[in-house]
């Protein structure tokens, strides 16, 4: 085991995969200087400017060119800088990358990874803070990944690069400096497999990305108050680990889904609906979703904070759901 940051883990994944497979390359703005967050720093020295390609500010063409290059024997890693700017290339992703394999009758695949740094990060305001994962989970053809730890960023990004279909890969901007243990040597995390971060019998907390850490902190606090929460980090949102979530809720009888994105039409709704459909008779309390109110994200911190799913909100919701447990 060694301790590295979430950012370093992403870089290590790219480096290892580029070493292993000469068809892997990366393209995006400012990559030659290491990318806007430094997540490619030094890679150009090792792989050269053809494989760590600086591009014009041309998101539509970055994405479209990657689709063409993926159809033609390479594995591009697309860097979108902020997930918000991927919206400038949504046709290329949704109408082209996601559908090509199907439309063309399976003649080829589109193996590309679209890295989209996501989420709230120190007063970045409405156009640089969004969490839009549920848009992508809605699109047949796309894999959607949202890692929360250095080890997962390493293992999932490697799996994403090896995957033969387009993957939308959402790294959380606030997690770049987060440090954590990662295994030495080859570390792969399979796509579609959730992680049970801690076990508990009273309540299941399903989460992903940065909100995982708020959930773990909430679960620690709840434990002291006699409530045992099981925390499940989905890690991959499509395909999502339905079996693991259902097995947990079957055990606990209570579910909270917590995510940073707007609650309305957030991916939490899919999980809540699935649990309601499959386990209605086993539920001891209504399922609950925690997400942002349906507001754009403001610049001023007190207003920005209104959009946050905090540890306290999770604790309050858990206590309300588990009242009889705490009382017993």
């Amino acid at each position: 085991m060694s301790v590295i940051s979430y950012l370093e883990a992403g870089k290590r994944a790219v480096r290892e995969e580029m070493q292993r497979d000469p068809t892997v390359w990366a393209l995006g703005e400012d990559l030659g200087r290491g990318g806007v967050f430094g997540q490619y720093k030094g890679l150009i020295d090792e792989f050269g400017p053809e494989r760590i390609a600086d591009t014009p500010i041309s998101e539509a063409c970055i994405m479209g060119a990657a689709v063409g290059a993926a159809m033609t024997g390479t594995r591009p890693i697309v860097e979108m800088r902020f997930s918000d700017f991927a919206l400038c290339a949504i046709d290329e992703l949704v109408n082209q990358a996601a559908k090509a394999r199907f439309m063309f009758g399976g003649q080829m695949r589109v193996p590309m990874v679209v890295r989209e740094p996501t989420g709230m990060w120190r007063s970045s305001a409405a156009q640089h803070s969004q969490s839009l994962e549920s848009w992508y989970t809605h699109i047949p053809g796309l894999v959607v990944v949202a890692p929360a730890t250095p080890a997962d960023n390493l293992g999932l990004l490697k799996s994403a690069i090896r995957n033969d279909d387009p993957v939308v890969y959402l790294e959380h901007k606030n997690l770049w400096p987060l440090e954590g243990e990662v295994p030495e040597g080859e570390h792969l995390v399979p796509l579609g497999e959730a992680q049970i971060v801690r076990t508990g019998r009273d309540l299941t907390l399903v989460t992903w990305s940065a909100t995982r850490h708020s959930c773990v902190a909430a679960a620690d606090a709840l434990e002291k108050q006699g409530i045992e929460a099981e925390v499940i980090d989905l890690r991959t949102l499509w395909p999502w680990d339905r079996d693991r979530v259902l097995a947990s809720v079957e055990k606990t009888g209570r579910l909270i889904v917590a995510h940073e994105a707007v609650a309305v039409s957030g991916f939490g709704a899919e999980i809540a609906a699935t649990v309601a459909e499959a386990l209605h008779h086993r539920l001891k309390a209504p399922v609950q979703r925690l997400g942002a109110p349906r507001i754009p994200i403001a610049y001023a911190p007190p207003l920005e904070d209104e959009a946050r799913v905090t540890e306290k909100k999770i604790i309050d919701a858990a206590k309300a759901l588990c009242l009889p447990v705490a009382a017993s």
Binding site: D54, A60, A125, H128, P293, P302
Partner: protein, 340 residues
């Protein structure tokens, strides 16, 4: 469009000292505003990213002084100078940068989203080139409504490599719209030299290929910017259709206030520092007979004003959190509430 070639150095004793002393005041106000905004990072007052336009003030001043208050301006993430020159209130802007109550946008937008519709400033923009198509639409509306107003849309050299550049210019030409497009070329697209990412002879040639009259000028020469803008706006008012200006300038800071910009060639930076637009205008005014005291006053007044703006903004309260829910849309509850 008849092209008047005017330059600072060429003006000599004929320089319109009244007009350009006022221009110097504007440029110093922009410089002071931005230097203080950058300094405020030490006190953690500016919260998000800011993109200073230090070194580019001649573009803002030379363009905006030719616009009427009701003319419309669209800017970019590097928009403090344009916004100040268009007449926005410096205190409201600084409050916005600090995320405070009374900010231009109520503290909800910050540096990258400053807009002041009262002075025809339709917004900075966090998305490169997004303002170009919006500007075409604003001009389209002015034409539909038979108005005499015009639109000026300023964007960076990096923006010309995005699709909206082609779509917006083509649209403006096809619909014959009253919009002046200005490429404020500071050599950089974030940390990359734009030249390395741009094919062909550049912005003006691209505009010309779509039939827009285009002129490339020294963007650090406020006399040149002023004259070229005046020409272009006259052409708009004469119904000659969209116009294009390519202003060559230089970004004296990093991409953001925290970017040390070590990727720049120091010799290049020195060369451009010698062409600082404020210093050059000061020299020209001195030669044209403006007193040392008046030149000094332009600087000291600007810093005094902005120090006061800074202190007042710093002492302003946060906005009311209810603002987070205001102005989202008219219908619908933003909260998922329990059924009762």
């Amino acid at each position: 469009m008849t092209i008047i070639q005017a330059t600072l150095e060429g003006a000599g004793a004929n320089l319109d000292t009244g007009r350009f002393t006022a221009m110097l005041d504007t440029m110093w106000r922009i410089r002071a505003f931005e230097e203080l905004a950058v300094r405020s990072l030490d006190e953690k007052l500016v919260l998000g990213a800011i993109h200073p336009s230090i070194g580019q003030e001649a573009c803002a001043a030379g363009i905006c002084c030719n616009m009427e208050r009701e003319d419309l301006l669209l800017s970019t993430h590097r928009g403090h100078g344009h916004t100040l020159a268009k007449g926005a209130d410096a205190l409201a802007m600084m409050r916005e940068l600090f995320g405070r109550d009374g900010g231009t946008c109520g503290g909800k937008g910050g540096s990258m989203h400053i807009a002041d519709f009262d002075v025809g400033m339709l917004g900075a923009n966090g998305v490169v080139a997004a303002n170009i198509t919006i500007a075409a639409g604003a001009a389209h509306a002015l034409k539909l409504r038979g108005e005499k107003r015009v639109v000026v849309c300023i964007f960076g050299d990096g923006a010309i490599n995005r699709g909206p550049f082609l779509e917006g210019l083509n649209w403006a030409k096809v619909f014959d719209l009253p919009v002046l497009f200005v490429c404020e070329d500071n050599n950089f697209s974030a940390t990359t030299h734009t030249a390395a990412m741009t094919a062909g002879p550049g912005a003006a040639a691209r505009a010309q290929s779509l039939g827009l009259p285009a002129q490339t000028i020294d963007g650090n020469d406020v006399v040149a910017v002023d004259a070229a803008t005046r020409n272009a706006l006259a052409a708009l008012h004469a119904g000659e259709g969209p116009q294009f200006l390519h202003c060559k300038t230089y970004r004296m800071t990093g991409h953001t206030a925290v970017d040390a910009a070590a990727y720049r060639d120091p010799a290049e930076v020195t060369r451009w520092r010698e062409r600082d637009p404020i210093t050059r205008l000061g020299e020209a005014l001195r030669l044209a007979g403006v007193s040392e005291a008046r030149l000094e006053e332009a600087r000291t007044k600007a810093y005094a004003e902005m120090e006061e703006v800074y202190a007042t903004a710093r002492d302003t309260a946060w906005p009311d959190v209810a603002g987070a829910y205001r102005d989202v849309q008219d219908c619908g509850d933003p909260q998922v509430r329990p059924y009762s």
